[in-house]
Amino acid sequence: MDVVRNALPYLMDGLKVTLYIFIIALILGFIIGLIVALLRLAPIKPLNWIAKSYINAIRGTPFIVQLFFIYFGLNTIPWISMDKTTAGIVTVAINAGAYFAEIIRAGIQSIDSGQAEAARSLGLTSTQTMRYIVLPQAFRRMLPTFTNQSIISLKDTSLLSIIGIADLTQRGQIQQAATYESFKIWLIVGIIYFIIIYALTLLANFLERRFELR
């Protein structure tokens, strides 16, 4: 137990890094997803095309390749200079954004067209209709899939250790190298991830009940 007790404070600092990157990337990813979903549904062909290309590019390539492209590839462009953490956040956000876009699009399309018709017939603009009528209902409906993708993105952050970000996984590696206690170290790292993700699931369940479609 001494190994674990000694490693724990160090691992907890790693968890802070993981959660910091995750939360910022999740917010950015959601904003990207919302914008891309709206572009994807806009009645303007070139916008649909841009949105579709982005989604296909992200879905059709591995996360690691996206990470290397953004951190090593984009950083060769003279006027771009991202540190590791920024590159990590950008990668997770751009990756999650593509999946969120598809989740939000499906959510919007699942709302009966009569809802928008009723809102428009009252004189609401298309933007107001989206904001007050369609999106609030779509968000409720997509909460379970949204939770799923968030959990995948949280787990994806462990891959950021490859470019040297001192997240939970990276710190696990360092502890393992220092102690040679692979079994205990990776078990405790796994348990920490599990607790966070389980808490996230409970939060999502709570929100689902709270915003139940009436």
Binding site: G114, E117, S121, G123, L124, Y132
Partner: protein, 242 residues
Amino acid sequence: MSIIQVRHLKKSFGNLEVLKDISTVIQETEVVCVIGPSGSGKSTFLRCLNRLEDITDGEVIVNGHIISSSTVNINKVREEVGMVFQQFNLFPHKTVLENITLAPMKVRLTTKDAAKKRAYELLDKVGLREKADSYPAQLSGGQKQRVAIARALAMDPKIMLFDEPTSALDPEMVGDVLDVMKQLAKEGMTMVVVTHEMGFAREVGDRVMFMDGGYVVEENVPEELFSHPQHVRTQSFLSKVL
């Protein structure tokens, strides 16, 4: 004074021509009932009057606005034209009160207090004041439709469009909704009602339009149209439904 003028209205969905050539004039305070078989184009005709369907050809003037023109601000026109749907289309994530106050507050920028006060007046009118804080899912079909009527009336429209308002209701709920509509007609609302309720058309309608195959086959005051239909199509339709 005519409030709706329709001249040679045509509407196609792709290659399918649903409205072939519709012309009519509707006067202020007039109640026009549109009847006809399924697929005759009566709902499409109604939905062209607030441009929920784009107009393929012809001219439609509503409340002084040429809504068949692409430059018209259709949102402004719709503020004055209420619509009631077969499937109610209440907003399920909002209470009855919020359903009614939303448009006045967001479109007309009415204060919350004023919008609420008006909403309660309208709920009294449709007999549902005690349901103000309920959600639509907690209401029966007839109650939902009466809330939908109150929601449309909250914008103080000059014209009300009804798209088969009682077709999705259990028979014992139909009467309550029709009573509210009769009251509205009595108060002088201009109404266009697509309906299968021949009794309502006969009693409340100032004029009945019979549509078939994308045309208005025949229109007349209810007594004449129901008692002495001129066209063979009208006769055969009425013989089946009356």
